[in-house]
Amino acid sequence: MLEAGAAAKRWCWLASVLAVGCSDLPDDQLLTSAHFRYHARADAVLDPTIMNRLEAQRAEFDARYAVDPGVIDYYLFRDAADRDANSPCPTGNNCTDQRSVMSSAPFHEHELVHAFLNASGAPAPVVAEGFAQYAACIFPHLAYLVPPNQWPVAVGSSSEGPVTEAKAYVYNFGQRLVAWMMAAGGTTMVLDFYHRSVGTTDAALFALQFERFWGRRLGDVAVELQDARYAGSSCPCTAPALSDDGSATSFVTLQEYRTVDVAAQSRLELASDGGQLVFPFVCANAADDGPILPIHDAPRGASLTIARVGSGRYGVTAAYPATGTAVVRQSRRAADDWTCDTAAANPVALAGREITAWVAPGMKAGTWFAFTLDGDATLDILGESTEVVVCPSCAEARSALSPCGIPEITFGLPKAIPVPRPSSGTIVIALFSHDSTGTSLGVRLRSAP
């Protein structure tokens, strides 16, 4: 979102528009639909069906939040350099100014949320960015923990400029704060606060208004935000379902998502041959948790996600690489036996793929998976609450006091934990939750480079 700090650049841009009578915003090509005008450079290759996806996202957002933002102008820049040179966005950032989205990405869910909410108010950055992080289906976000005593930094910082710890606090604290507000007061109150919130970066002023509106000390709420219930984005999950007859379903990466309805606890496998990582995420009460998307690493080829899911509706989204079409094939079978022996009896071959094991929130006992390695592998831990046991066999897992442990279980770090190929060629992996927050668990396994 465009904010105060970009004012100088915005005024320069406005001045140039007024003085010259034209701007350098992309406008060589124009696609239109009922609620969007899509502007692009002459050399951009546009897919006209993108208007359908924009309309679909808007319809879903409107149904969920009942806002009427009017017609949105979406300006697609050639690349980041084009955007930085020819838009009022702060350098290095996509942005939204009023109802105009300016981005070098063809579809930017986060910025679109800003545009959808434009008529709803101009709140403090922590609320505006938090809402845009929270209301996400295509690219849901896991909001990282912000130390409670850092709330003045989170609510007192700008969301512009290069990535800094303070800027990250704005987004992460903001998302958790919006999730908290949704839980505390529901959509109507949150939108009312969004409307009333003053667009300040004065932490004390924001805190005062927050406390007067919600009747709670922001410092106390900041402690409650540590709860994993507030870690994820929220999605209405009204997108079409993945095909369940064994055929593939295609959808454009980072422009749309799909859903899966699960009747009973099941083993859900999502295979993608297109190179995208495909993830399920929780829809119902999605503030309870969100998917964990490893956004920085692109898979090297085919990927497979194996998920233990309970009954309910789940979203399915495709992450990086950010272009192309995900071709996803699901297989699903009811499964309530996730013991080590059962997993070991049917190991899944890594076979050069990138495999993600994911456990939906609320699964009380440990969940075992087994994989056949054709060489050494590496492991990334994806869930904030994930505790991992990796063993060559179930027997070793049962016998050792500290079974076959890996050096660190901390979420996020270290990356790419080495997993040597055992002589048997098979490993078993158990996912446990090391806390009682009920968040999802996950690991990603891939062949060592």
Partner: protein, 191 residues
């Protein structure tokens, strides 16, 4: 009464006492000044309602102010300078807000009783929430006033004014807008 409130009350008493002493001293000095310049002190109390974004923070405020006016004998125009404070306590859990303004301006008498004035100046917003956080933000302010002045006797006047002010706190581009009424007691001779 908590210790914090006690200290706040003590500060308020001390502040009021200092202002009163300064007012009396200035009034006495004004009487000693030779003509044709008249420098006359004034003190003011007012009540404001906020508008715009400020209304999301607080709806009503109390305003206290002191100032001096200076004019030449017989002139309808006066220059004036003033200091205002809006001391807002208990506006939230442990929260207090003060807005200080210092301004310079001009005022004009119209047909003896009607007064109009325009002031420009600087402002400081100080907001504290318990012991957790205190933030101070500078700003610039503009104020317009229309008043009706009555002369109580040969030296004292009382002005009932309608005042509208806008203060722009530039660190967060926050506009604090108010409109209110004020009673100004001045050491003022009729023009």
């Amino acid at each position: 009464m908590t210790a914090r409130r006690g200290r706040a009350a003590l500060r308020c008493v001390v502040f009021t006492g200092l202002v009163g002493a300064a007012f009396a001293k200035t009034a006495a000095a004004a009487d000693r000044l030779p003509s044709p310049w008249l420098v006359e002190p004034e003190a003011r109390v007012g009540a404001d309602v906020t508008a715009g974004s400020a209304r999301q923070i607080i709806q009503e405020t109390l305003e206290l102010g002191v100032g001096v006016t200076a004019r030449r004998e017989g002139w309808a125009w006066r220059g004036r300078a003033g200091l205002d404070v809006e001391p807002l306590t208990d506006i939230g859990p442990g929260a207090s807000l003060q807005i200080f303004r210092a301004h310079l301006g001009v005022e004009r008498d119209w047909r003896r009783h009607l007064v109009t004035a325009l002031d420009l100046g600087g402002a400081v917003r100080r907001l504290s929430i318990a012991d957790e956080i205190t933030r101070t933000a500078p700003g610039i302010t503009a104020l317009a006033e229309v008043g009706w002045r009555v002369f109580l006797d040969a030296r004292w006047s009382l002005t009932a004014g309608l005042r509208s002010s806008t203060t722009w706190f530039f660190p967060d581009e926050f506009l604090w807008q108010e409109i209110g009424i004020a009673l100004t007691l001045g050491r003022s001779r009729a023009p």
